[in-house]
Chain length 309, copies 2
């Protein structure tokens, strides 16, 4: 069994019937799990977290995109979050037995379909970006839907897939493969947020630390403790253990220690195993060596086979 | 989804048709996965590793036991491995979302069935033992099938379930809940087996180390390195990180270091997570926080539902 995650952002966070129609159309695809739906009225935006086998996810994503393009008119849309399209961003994330390469191929297939079927031009971002400046969404979103109507005609703003003309109501869409993002925090045995700030600055990419790490200092009222709050943008290259040990090392300069780690939400099995393999010095530790996973995976597959017979 | 493992030992390792008949009868139970079948002619014994939901495993185990009692006559059986019954030992092991308590209840249910249906008396061992001396199999197996015919009549050898008389051809059976056994080795940066021996002696239960740990020193020809070779008998109480860090600490006395860890076979997810939670200082880290597992588990369940409709 191969599993990927897809986290489409739709530009609708207020009209419940529109949101329901989009999510329901995605559920029509068998064996796709909708893990989470988050809608925010002030952002006027809905984020759906869906997991399944690549072709199932692709099929669900097409259903959702078709429905969103049908029901959302960006000329009538206002919200705090910047956006260029009714289907604003579609990231494909490798989860289990799937590679970035496969997610990239899926992103290209979906992007081509968006143009061929719906006449929505597509920008490839993140790991699928063809130009370095399109790796990050803010560059693609410059001017938003309203500004992009004209800007898309400029050669440097031409879409990667489709003609340089935006869809009259649905705008354009950013599509790409990216890694799973892990939110991880480390509490310090001090209430001094300044210390957490300094450690965060030392360990993050933007100011001389590890690549793929965003970090900031916080003071957490409930615990009365300062915290280094982090996002890991690519745990396959910059694993949990490395940032954890680096935070401990930097903390020594201030005579403070890490007292607790905190995982926000979920992490992929690969993130757990690549850190554990460091600490136990096992050169390679993968999902096939985890009994429950090997079994669950075979159970799910054998049930797939039965259904296909 | 709840998963347990069952590793029955049958007293037949030579007649292929008998072994096939037993394994095939177990496969009749839907949704049970036979992970491994190991037969040893000199031991004249077959070990089946099976995984599935508790009631499915119980059902497969009943099929296998019924077939083994029908086809194996211990009066005709010879082999190196000590045994008391055609169905010699039946351990139930909690894997995923299952507790030792549930496996214990399953062991009792199966044991009662062995007596009620097949008239095979049952000794409860491991975590299910009602007397401390029955925790370990060698105490239960004393005298083997041949000796037990008479010995079972002595009050201290009475079975825990059934009358004190062994089945004329199938003997008696040891049944119990136990934890998963993890085989884990640590290589040292020395070729001196004596150092590995001394470290093993320091860390194992039998000579002053950690409970639930068996350890011995080895010299591994292929690597030219000494190794501390270990069995973890209860990773829930004595986790991988604790024995790993203790080996490193004892190694310092000899000026040697651990250069590599080696996992033999599989380990349960819980074993990976309870060690990772130590290193990352996350107070509690469980299977629900591992994205792939949460998803696989829901996929398997939703397919279950579909099949039941």
């Amino acid at each position: 069994m191969k599993l990927i995650e897809c986290v489409p952002n739709f530009s609708e966070g207020r009209r419940q019937e529109v949101m329901d129609a989009i999510v329901n159309s995605m559920k029509e695809s068998a064996n796709v799990i909708i893990l989470d739906v988050e809608a925010d009225p002030s952002h006027n935006r809905m984020v759906v977290t869906m997991v399944g086998e690549p072709q199932q996810v692709l099929s669900a994503m097409k259903n959702g995109a078709r429905k969103a393009v049908e029901l959302i008119d960006l000329n009538q849309h206002q919200g705090e979050h910047p956006r260029i399209g009714a289907v604003d961003v579609v990231p494909f994330v490798p989860l289990f037995n799937a590679t970035m390469q496969e997610c990239n191929e899926l992103a290209l297939e979906f992007g081509q379909w968006m143009w061929d079927e719906l006449k929505v031009p597509v920008y490839l971002y993140a790991e699928s970006a063809r130009m370095p400046e399109r790796k990050r969404l803010p560059n693609i979103r410059k001017g938003e839907f309203e500004g992009l109507k004209e800007a898309i005609k400029e050669p440097e703003r031409h879409p990667d897939i489709g003609e340089p003309v935006i869809h009259p109501t649905a705008g354009a869409t950013a599509v790409g493969a990216r890694n799973f993002l892990i939110a991880f925090n480390l509490y310090l045995n001090t209430a001094d947020k300044g210390v957490a700030d300094k450690i965060a600055k030392a360990v993050r990419e933007s100011s001389g630390g590890l690549v793929n790490i965003q970090a900031k200092g916080m003071f957490i009222e409930e615990k009365g403790l300062a915290q280094v709050s982090m996002n890991l943008l690519d745990y396959t290259k910059t694993p949990l253990y490395r940032i954890t040990e680096l935070v401990k090392l930097e903390a020594r300069r201030f005579g403070v220690e890490v007292v607790e780690g905190e995982l926000i939400g979920l992490m992929p099995l690969g993130a757990a195993l690549n850190s554990l393999s460091y600490y136990l010095q096992i050169p390679k530790l993968d999902a096939n060596q985890i009994l429950d996973v090997a079994v669950l995976s075979r159970l799910a597959e054998s049930q797939d086979d039965e259904q296909q017979q």
